[in-house]
């Protein structure tokens, strides 16, 4: 027995060493990266500003660096899910926030957050440049600063012939089994599309529409990616209609592998559309509220606003900026549906919708 001991020890050590080496490689590398030559114009250590965003947040590297240099700050980002999930995170950490700024709360989810007292007021100098009807989506509350907006509609595969022209048509035989939507309980675009149908049909009547849609074999997916990439016929699925963004055809154009003359998908706008407005807010309990405010100013700056279509595929709230040419595929002039609701209404919509789809 004793003769065999070294073998066992060596083998164990080998396994441990291999696993530790993997750890060391990454950690060691991490330790090396900050060893950049010290920059003379930064006398004090930069302040770390933590920004919680939705998963789709993006910005060009150069702009963020500019902000960091200007304010001697280091910006850390937490991708916290969609609008609903970032609000959840804020509420679960109320009073003891994960960061300083929250971006991605929208006009369907903000009321829960406001009630939980997770935001503090901030009035940006550029606030007055935001159109009043956009600010009104948050009751013009200083707790929230609108940054961008977008619409969800139907995307259509042109290979399937002529698209439907009204929502009612979707319940007809011709479109049986042709539409895939996202679940409003779990998906932001799913909830926006539900809001569009509620605005169009009205309280008390939208339920019948969804009941008919259910009968007509609408398919429900938990998230946008599942619906779009696995069931939309453009990507090999069996359904030529998918609930997606009005900007998706423009994004298809932008992200095509070869130069295109037109996008491979089309927008179908069968009714006025619910407008989702995304806002930023300073979190209550933030250790750097002033810097957090500066970040919101930065998000409203012309430079940041103008790159919003290209990085996040939504519309900037500041009007009159020069936007890229391909953005015209994103249906800039859309009729906005008008609808008023409380947080309880949204919860009730989802509960009733779930009841209908369960049958």
């Amino acid at each position: 027995m004793p003769a065999r001991r070294p073998t066992l020890t060596r083998s164990l050590a080998l396994l441990a060493a291999a696993l530790l080496a993997a750890l060391a490689v990454a950690c060691g590398d991490e330790a090396e990266t900050p060893e950049e030559p010290p920059e003379p114009p930064a006398p004090a250590d930069p302040t770390t500003l933590t920004v919680i965003t939705h998963d789709s947040f993006d910005v060009s590297d150069g702009l963020i660096e500019q902000f960091e240099q200007e304010h001697n700050a280091k910006v850390e980002l937490i991708a916290g899910g969609d609008a609903n999930e970032v609000v959840n995170r804020a509420i679960l950490n109320a009073g003891n926030p994960e960061g300083d700024v929250l971006f991605g709360v929208d006009n369907l989810s903000f009321q829960r957050a406001v009630r939980a007292g997770v935001f503090r007021e901030y009035e940006s100098a550029r606030r007055s440049d935001i159109p009043a009807d956009v600010r009104a989506q948050f009751g013009d509350s200083l707790l929230l600063t609108p940054i961008d907006y977008g619409y969800v509609n139907l995307n259509f595969d042109p290979a399937a012939g002529e698209p439907p022209s009204t929502l009612e048509e979707l319940t007809e035989r011709q479109w049986r089994g042709k539409l895939v939507v996202e679940d409003p309980a779990t998906s932001s675009p799913g909830l926006q599309f539900l809001a569009t149908t509620i605005a169009y049909f009205g309280e008390g009547r939208w339920q019948q529409f969804w009941h008919d849609l259910h009968e007509n074999e609408v398919r429900v997916e938990l998230g946008w990616s599942d619906a779009y990439y696995t069931h939309f016929s453009v990507y090999g699925g069996d359904r030529p209609l998918v609930v997606s963004y009005t900007s998706s055809p423009a994004a298809e154009f932008f992200f095509s592998e070869e130069p295109l003359t037109e996008p491979p998908t089309r927008n179908v706008i069968p009714s006025p559309l619910f407008r989702q407005v995304e806002a930023a807010a300073v979190l209550e309990g933030s250790e750097h509220p002033d810097l957090a405010g500066k970040f919101i100013d930065f998000m409203l700056s012309d430079a940041f606003q103008a790159q919003i279509p290209e990085t996040m595929f939504v519309y900037p709230v500041i009007p009159g900026l020069d936007l890229p040419e391909w953005w015209s595929w994103a249906e800039v002039d859309v009729e906005t549906a008008s609808i008023e609701f409380t947080a309880e209404d949204v919860d009730r919509w989802i509960r009733e919708w779930t009841e209908i789809m369960r049958r």
Binding site: V59, E98, A185, F254, E258
Partner: protein, 570 residues
Amino acid sequence: MIGAGGVTPSPPTPVGRAAGAPRAGPWALPVLVVLLPLLLWPLATILWRGLAPEGVPDAAAIADVLGDGYYWDRLVFTTAQAAASTAVALLVGLPSAYVFAHIRFPGRAVARALVTVPFVLPTLVVALAFQQLAGPDGLLNSALAWFGLGRVEVVGTIWAILAAHVFYNVSIVIRLVAGVWANLDPRTEEAARLLGAGRWATLREVTLPALAPAIASAAALVFVFSFTSFGVVLVLGGPGLDTLEVVIYRLAIRLVELPAAAVLSTVQIATTVAVLGAYSLLQRRTARPLTQRSERSRALRDTSWAERGLALGVAVVLALLIVAPLAALVHGAFTIGASGGVTAANFTRAFEDPGRLSFVEPLNAMRWSVTFAGGAALIAVVLGTLAATAIARSRGRLAALADGLLMAPLAVPAVVLGFGFLITFNSGVTDLRGSPWLIVIAHALIAYPFVLRAALAVLRTLDPRLPEAARVLGASPLAAWRYVELPLAWRALLVGAGFAFVVSLGEFGATAVLQRREFATLPVAIYTSLGRPGLANLGQALAMATILMTVTAAALLLIERVRYRDIGEF
């Protein structure tokens, strides 16, 4: 005798324990010390917040949920599909295990690594692969059309779910069972044959009972995995095919419905623990001591025609179920955007920084993925070994319950545990928000049950008189473990470590909640790409999935090379 090629034949006495048998307590204590604060505390915190929003349990609300027939339907469906998935996985996995254990063929190690690769693949990517194969314009329907046959719709039916569950889980059966099967002492079977038993009788009366603990371990893991299945069921299933895990996710994510989510989570955890506890009880009754020998010590003999036929059949089934979807992915990674040709553009683009903050460099993501997996596997091996030793050494129903409870990390809905972590590790010295350690801990918690099950599968077959004999001969408890149990469990620990590593590599649910951009993993990068429309994004996601698959296969081949004497060979 074990592993040393000894010749002590072991009489088939049922496993019983003499007085003064090795104690379980010292092994169980460290496990408790780790699990209490890291698993039970956050879980209890979030469940209590849901069950008792005002500080006292809301009995009416709880009764409401429990009285809703819809949820019971979901529970029944979830249990039934998990049982069916387990049965199919065993049906495919056991013959495959025989082939991997007894038939030497070129590329066996690579094939074994390949069948485990599905474990790391994001469900959405797998759904894409299935769609390419069995979707409306997929290969299957093209082939049927070519033969002049009608189209079949697989996606959206229970068959798609079963196929996907087998795709993901059959490697659990293959690895756990083949590991034991390859090292069964052939003389027991030979003796049975000599005594006049036929081929089937020998299989039924000698081989299968000897393999029972390994089969039970594998079945338990496949069951829990299919029971809590999330992504696959969603994308490939359809109306009426939601699992309980999906229902809980829908409720919890709205937060206002947290009470209902907490009730259902409790039901889900309790069901799993009960099923596994019962299993464990059954298993310890049937476990028999058995002699193991190194695979190499088996006399090499020619493969019979029947075996060749079996090997061919297994090869065809595994090629269709596992290799075909994997090939579809790789095919997509090299052809998307090439208009009919082949391109490496999807790979080069994945490495090009477009100057955006969202850019995750794939090599960096891979490095973090491997780091987390290494750390998680290390912790999982320690935790799993301690827990397996404790359970193997204790008796009674309490140990069976503990066995079931130790599998709980796989039964806890990911979204619930994620919220639990968020509200527990958020202040004072336990403020771990933003720490990469939180990811290592979460992964280790999900990974250790694999080590536990793999180790238990062999420790249960250990003749209890062996460690006792070692103690009588003067060995310290640690020495007895080291010279008796460890050598026996070594191979199983490697299998477990491999799974732990791979589970961590592919983990997305918990990682998505805990990650930061600086240490984003490859699955996170894949999902980020798939969050945007456009062929370029899809191609890039498939390219990264291909990289993830390659690294996984390489890591598995490496881990299996860690040998201990001559029994390291699996």
